[in-house]
């Protein structure tokens, strides 16, 4: 009984409530005329679509640099990769992998600069990261207008210059991962094999990275920077590595997201992209200074399940669209809950 109590306290009431909320949504779905198999298919697609962005948060949390509200820095690198690949006229797998390849050097460069800044401001990372992300996004909004992109599929038709706000990936690499080896079961259920395999591979890479010497040192820095220092590990360097890795995953994550979504969204679109990812990982049981692969998987699944199910189920029940409110309250409530919890590092 006592054990159960501490387990519950460890996991936190908000998470448990949300978990049962999701279960209740699935149970209620058939009664209000929502097909469970269709919904599940939806959830799986979104799970794979968003997962890598959530995964990108792990290294910085582990290194003690907090929740990466500056994820848009990586997203911008991904957008650069995607648009450049399109500009070069690459399509299909070449296009997608080319986009990933092109975005990586940008991600490393941005991440490195961003990491240097975060190392100077220990203790205030999260607020500053947020505003670094915001300014990066708005700054790049200018570049989207000015850079000499010329592919007619991407630039505004009437002026012939400046990228459109939304660029369709049709004819390039729309759903290239989703459709790869996808299995269709019945009318409503599609299993996006390629997408989930890619997400799985990314998770595996992150898992291996955390098991490496560097990954171990990073975790120790986050767990107890003084211990790591006494063990001859430079915490600044480890934090820098964690920021770079996080940014790289952010870049890959947005490319995966876009191929599933079918569009590249530019300008203000990436502004708030870090928030749902942060909410998801916290929902999965991570704290501000500890996160695991399980947190990522569970959190992304739960969060996407809420996003998919609430509009369908709640709206049918209440005859009104309250999903937006529920989403805002749950995702931000989760973040506040994590921020106000006493950090569990025992000292």
């Amino acid at each position: 009984m006592n054990k159960l109590k501490t387990a519950v306290a460890d996991f936190g009431w908000p998470r448990i409530i949300i978990f049962f909320f999701v279960v209740a949504l699935f149970v209620a779905a058939p009664f209000v005329g929502v097909r469970v198999d269709g919904a599940l298919s939806d959830v799986l697609a979104r799970f794979g679509q968003n997962g890598i962005l959530v995964l990108a948060l792990v290294p910085m949390v582990q290194a003690g640099a907090g929740l990466n509200f500056g994820l848009p820095v990586g997203i911008i690198a991904g957008l650069l990769g995607g648009t450049l690949s399109m500009q070069f006229g690459w399509t299909g797998w070449v296009g997608f992998l080319g986009a990933v390849g092109v975005s990586l050097p940008f991600a490393v460069l941005f991440g490195w600069a961003y990491g240097l800044l975060l190392n100077k401001v220990k203790g205030e990372e999260m607020t500053i990261a947020m505003y670094v992300g915001f300014s990066m996004v708005t700054f790049f909004a200018i570049l989207w207008l000015l850079l000499p992109y010329s592919s007619p599929n991407m630039v505004w038709g009437y002026s012939g210059s400046g990228l459109r706000t939304t660029i369709t990936l049709d004819g390039y690499w729309t759903k290239i991962l989703n459709d790869f080896l996808a299995v269709r079961l019945g009318r409503f259920f599609v299993f996006p094999t390629g997408l989930l395999a890619f997400f799985g591979a990314a998770t595996g890479v992150m898992w291996l990275f955390l098991k490496s010497k560097t990954g171990t040192a990073m975790t120790a820095v986050g767990s107890n920077p003084d211990f790591a220092r006494a063990g001859g590990v430079s915490s600044d360097r480890m934090r820098l590595v964690s920021v770079v890795v996080s940014t790289v995953f952010g870049a890959v994550g947005i490319l995966v997201y876009q191929q599933s979504y079918g569009f590249i969204q530019l300008y203000q679109a990436p502004l708030y992209m870090a928030f749902p990812a942060v909410a998801a990982i916290l929902l999965g049981g991570a704290s501000v200074n500890k996160a695991s692969m399980v947190n990522v998987l569970v959190g992304t699944f739960l969060f996407q399940a809420i996003l998919t199910m609430t509009p369908n189920v709640i709206n049918s029940v209440l005859q009104t669209d309250m999903s937006e409110v529920i989403r805002i309250v749950i995702s931000n409530g989760m973040i506040i809950y994590a921020l106000t919890r006493k950090t569990k590092v025992s000292k």
Partner: protein
């Protein structure tokens, strides 16, 4: 000591009553300000109406002013409106025929959004000269219903990749 020290311990009772009195004062000020704002700030629309009514003739031409607002001229059967705040209003009627303008004060009920003020009645001294005016719709027809934009909706998922149930 020149400075009077603030101390709760020395005269707890006195401070207590002073405090209570002060709180009552604050409450009264809050309610008073609210009442003042509501009474004097409540907006009403007065429709001034120059039509024959209940055996009274309409005027050929009349100039009417409510409060300090610009007067308007009304021909027979014409109607205009004044937006006013507060309940008590002076209405000045000038028949433009050399007779002295007539000034009357009308008092409207608080919750009357719009009243129809009959000028013939007012000039004839019939009480009350106004009646509540109900319209089918008290506002211009609403434009297309607008719902709030999403906060970071676009980021989460603007449209599901495949909508449920095909």
């Amino acid at each position: 000591m020149s400075a009077k020290e603030v101390s709760g311990a020395k005269a707890p009772l006195r401070v207590g009553t002073r405090r209570a009195a002060a709180l009552v004062l604050v409450a009264a000020a809050y309610l008073g300000a609210g009442a003042w704002a509501m009474l004097t700030g409540k907006s009403h629309t007065i429709l001034v109406d120059n039509k024959p009514v209940a055996g009274l003739e309409a005027f050929r031409l009349v100039e009417v002013a409510v409060g300090r607002q610009e007067p308007v001229e009304l021909g027979r059967g014409e109607r205009d409106k004044f937006a006013v705040q507060g309940q008590r209003h002076r209405v000045k009627i000038d028949l433009m025929n050399g007779t002295e303008p007539v000034t009357t004060t009308i008092v409207l009920p608080y919750d009357a959004k719009m009243v129809l003020l009959s000028l013939p009645k007012l000039a004839a001294g019939v009480e009350p000269a106004w009646e509540p005016f109900e319209t089918g719709q008290d506002a211009p027809p609403p434009a297309a219903d607008e719902l709030p934009e999403e906060l970071f909706g676009a980021a989460i998922d603007p449209a599901p990749p495949e909508s449920v149930g095909d």
